[in-house]
Symmetry: D3
Subunit: 284 residues, 6 copies
């Protein structure tokens, strides 16, 4: 009697034993310099997921047929960035240890670093596919090396040259674009070359990190640092489906939804649909 009605991402209600993918949220935006609020992203995605269908006419599959568990949001320490990253790393580690795929919902982009530290330990040969409007390659931002604007630079320090493939980049300092030339592969503005990249790293474990601001703000206004000139929903939908079904994704994240800047609610629905398409493609 009197069971609780538990909220999870729509259709992701499997028990731990049967799940192959484990969703969790990291409601952290402590280093956000411009417009804070991505701390509310993961819970908004979970809550609003009930507004979309579990069935995808794009892939002709249904979340009801997949094995995903949503473990809810972490309770992160506020004001101590390193400790928050430790908590994210620990949870990712737990999921990897039992042979499941961690799927992290941010939060700001820095949360990637916590999950990536665990992924590198589990898969030293890991490569990174990175979709974003921003290069995120600063060495420091406002004197802080642990900033959302530095997260890909920090990931690079863990894996070195030639392992990171960025797409859609259209904003950054001049120095970031110059630094990129000798250390990572960067496709500016769009997803050109993505198929080739996936072919190139075939078989290698991949960490896939998606900063939703790669989308044009007309499609996705609800983010801290919107950058006009981004990709369309269709372009992103095809690209994430490609990565999740063709690359060997070992862990992934979706971040930077800031629902307070999304008064019509459309950004949250867009995030939900992208997560659905990723879960379906990963489950194939």
């Amino acid at each position: 009697m009197l069971n609780r009605n538990i909220e999870c991402f729509m259709g992701c209600d499997k028990e731990a034993a049967e799940a192959g993918i484990v969703l969790f949220g990291a409601p952290f935006d402590g280093t956000t310099s411009y417009r804070p609020g991505t701390r509310f992203g993961s819970s908004a995605i979970r809550r609003e997921s009930y507004g979309i269908e579990t069935y995808s006419p794009y892939q002709d599959t249904d979340l009801e047929d997949t094995a995903v568990m949503d473990t809810g949001d972490l309770e992160l320490c506020f004001g101590d960035t390193e400790k928050a990253l430790d908590q994210i790393q620990e949870r990712t580690q737990e999921i990897l240890d039992v042979g499941k795929l961690p799927f992290l919902l941010g939060g700001e982009h820095l949360v990637t670093l916590g999950a990536f530290r665990a992924a590198v330990q589990a898969y030293p040969e890991i490569h990174v596919i990175h979709f974003d409007a921003h290069a995120d390659l600063r060495d420091q931002y406002l004197a802080n090396p642990l900033s959302h604007a530095c997260v890909i630079r920090r990931c690079w320090e863990l894996v070195g040259d030639g392992k990171i493939f960025s797409f859609g980049i259209r904003s950054g300092e001049r120095e970031e674009f110059q630094w990129a030339k000798s250390h990572i592969s960067m496709q500016r503005f769009d997803f050109q070359g993505l198929e080739e990249t996936i072919r190139q790293i075939k078989g290698k474990p991949v960490y896939f990190t998606l900063d939703l601001d790669v989308l044009d703000p007309s499609v996705f206004p609800g983010t801290g640092t919107p950058e006009p000139g981004g990709v369309t929903f269709e372009e992103l939908r095809k690209a994430v489906t490609l990565v999740c079904s063709e690359a060997n994704v070992a862990a992934c994240d979706v971040n930077e939804l800031s629902p307070h800047f999304d008064p019509s609610g459309v950004s949250t629905v867009t995030a939900c649909k992208i997560v659905r398409e990723m879960l379906l493609a990963l489950s194939k």
Copy 2:
């Protein structure tokens, strides 16, 4: 002395005798399951129509030269869906009886059923052209057969197989897409095949129902169930112009504007402009 200043859709101020098209609103959203508010759609369209011009550079014609009467909104019974549908059917019948074309502004998509019941009686051979993001083909939704999510299925029950042509569909349950294959013609995602369809049903009376959420949410956020991945304004503008000028439209509706989810007001303006283009094309 002391005349009243009556609000109608911009330029649609003809008297009953001279009007060929009769606009009316059905402010009903009683079965909306997710985000209610389309009950405010028709009055918002009427009010905000003054922000656009009566002249269309696309068609080089002007609403001032057309014969349209706007009779305002129905006062619908709330909480009794059947009774509301009866009121809509009755008004549609009245308009058809005097040989005019009824143009219904919703409200949620279920209002179509009221108008369609009258149209089927007047034109037993009627066909349906349906633009929508959602299949709306469920047999029941949350145990309710009279739901916005079932409206095209209810219409089908009145006309049978082969009469309904849906375009732009990108969301629904797996069962709806499967059911569609044997009962209606469904074009997913876009308007491909629309010209061919119009040619195919040339001369037949047509009921044209437009759920505005067929538009991409970047263009039209103000709706109850936004679905990323929709058509552009230009695609819809061309498609409605085609239907209204080439098909033999006997009655039509435009629905699912929910102005409370449109804080910038852009969705309402978009609805106004689409209604203007439809009225102009129908008047040719």
Copy 3:
């Protein structure tokens, strides 16, 4: 490993066995005639409760020391009012059957009828204390007897004259105010006489129904039908504390929060704090 992080009203995380009070939500607004959206009320209260403290300096007690279980929201049938009321009645019955106090979060005010039907069965001698801006005594509203505007009239039909005590009423039709004179006790505008009422029904089981729009809209804008001229937060806080600590409350509800009309979030916080004070007073 991999436990789920379950959302409940702050501090209300007791298991069924130890709980004395059971919270549940009824996200229903199907008969709302003006501005819909109270369907989002109970989940907003639960979510935002984390913004307030568990400790009350007013009563010098703490939610951590109480025995409350939050069982989440019911999944109600939309579009069939009677069925939704049945579901609410059934859940209330279950809670009463195991000797616990049901605490219902709406939803629109009509949800009270579901819970009250169960309460009358359990306690035939039950009295009603009712705080509201509106009389809610219409026999029908827009031809519908099962409307939020008729809920106290429907309750009266179950218990008869002299059992209902309304406070704070400042809006209604002339007929409602006249009808009230011979059937219920109605205090207009404020809580004068509340202590006397509680003394008068001492020992009798009481159903306490709180429509939050009894508050002035300056304090509580987030409701479907705001009525200027209401009581202050302090007046309501004292009144609910009095009822919950001095009357013999057998069941209660708090309803009519509509978070979409509360852009600053203040109404939801106000609802949370009133619920906290009620839970603490009931637990004494």
Copy 4:
């Protein structure tokens, strides 16, 4: 057949012949210096009036029993202040000419000048009762003598010393407060002395102008220049009822609602209720 459903202030649907009071709107905010938008005030009041009851429990009377006609909004020339004032004056004159009471809905406060010019012609002995947060006594504002911030000064030029009684004033330049001492009667901050004033001008024709920003912004945020420290709804309700039932009101206006700064809608409802109470008291 096919009647239009005409929008008017709730219950104010009498024909010209039977009406004793004539409502009209002046959607003008051309001199607003800070936050524009009162041009949308009168139509918002008309539209949202359906959210309140026609019956007042304060006065125990009903709008249904009154003789009020709502003639809708004027179509004012934008960008030529004098011409807009002429249009307002002309309409007021027309209403006075047939022996009815003009009730003007703004718009910014400058609209008062148009109506007052007509009232002074009809009633040379007219006195003014003025409720406002701002003195509005500047000789010029940003080099413009026809500004909302100068409107009472302009009215004074038409009637001279000792005829104007301002209440609730809490903002202005030092010079305005000093000038007031020798030319008008000004009660700062509240309504003290209002009864005495009404007694003093007993029998004299009165123009009553109500700037709704006299209310505290907690009650009435939706205005161009909110001023913390204002009166409560109850204080204003009592004061307008007193003026409208005890003074010899020959014409009146209610202005400065700016609905775009009222996201919860509460300010508009407040304006509606004040207008209702005024209409009821004037009709006694």
Copy 5:
């Protein structure tokens, strides 16, 4: 000690002596007929410019390397349109007199007339490149010749036939489109022919006026009169870069951002980025 922290458009902090381009704002919207608020446009652009980077990956240059001074907003007289235009003209004259390029931020589109009057005096042979959704060719609007809807017509009166090249026009009265045929060059809907135009007026001084509502409302909702069917960000970015780097721009303006209708903030960011790209291209 105690220096002031002065707000300017990001990176535009040069002193007068070294600056080649001088930014200034004209916060005026006095003739706006529909939704006012562009008076807040220039200060919003300045404030939010800190959310974007100074470096452009499109042009591979940086605002830090340019010579731009931002002199802030003019303090314009409200309610006297001619006087406001005089102030804008005077400031433009001052900038032209010292051989610098004036870059005006509106405000509504009428502000162009003030700057253009100065530009015509300095460069009698000046041509106009005009991007807009609206023709702005009315002779009068609501009986007012000094309206935003007439601004290009007023400019034409200063330079005569064959000097004005409009692009992107998709809204206006029938008469405007017809008048245009014999007096100006008008490209409807898009930028087709822009390169040819620039070649044609090679060497001639050019006044470039950009009404941001040429953008589609999905990209740029925050404007007074949004017009669905506009150009994309990429189309506009390329077009302004072409004009500013290939034409001989002597003065320019960017106008019609209305931040109150931009709740997500995306329109302001879009305006900032377009201004950045223009400044960079002009500085080459």
Copy 6:
């Protein structure tokens, strides 16, 4: 030629030499746990101050006659709380060193600690008058001792028992209220005893810290952690006037305005008016 138009708090445009009070902003909200955004508070206060008058009818004085300099906002390091506090302390020190009164605009309440550290060094005998809804006496919050929820506890560590006088407190953990009894003077809910306190510490240097959430959310919704049940505008206005004119204020701050949660703009205006009254009282 070409002077810049510098934005400062209205009327606070004195040069350093003549100023007796120096305003500066600290746009920091890095430890905010619930709803971030006070980082935008100081710039909103500065910008919106132009909506109020420089003259106060309460005190019959004018900001134009005072000697206040506004030095704008600090550019704080984000993500390193200690460094941000150092920057605030340093600026406060500079102001104190030249014998002027520092007036800090937050930002979250933690900014007080930076200013207070400087004030304690300059005035070792300093006492604290503290207006707030929250006790802010936690030893740690989410494992962080440098949190807004701990700021008064941190101040206490610098001055010891008997020096801190808190008013208006209505929220906190049970432990904070108990700890307060032996270490500070705390008046719950209101300002009772304020006059007595001022008399008691007559002649002692006073640091006055005002957390604006002491106001009721009906008056001041725009804050991170609104707490129903607070003081009215009039109560706060009188209390700050009393402190600033009767106590020996050596430094002060006003904090916790979060303009994103203030869609009507009323909270910002309220903050502006309180700051004006404080500046006027301090200047007497």
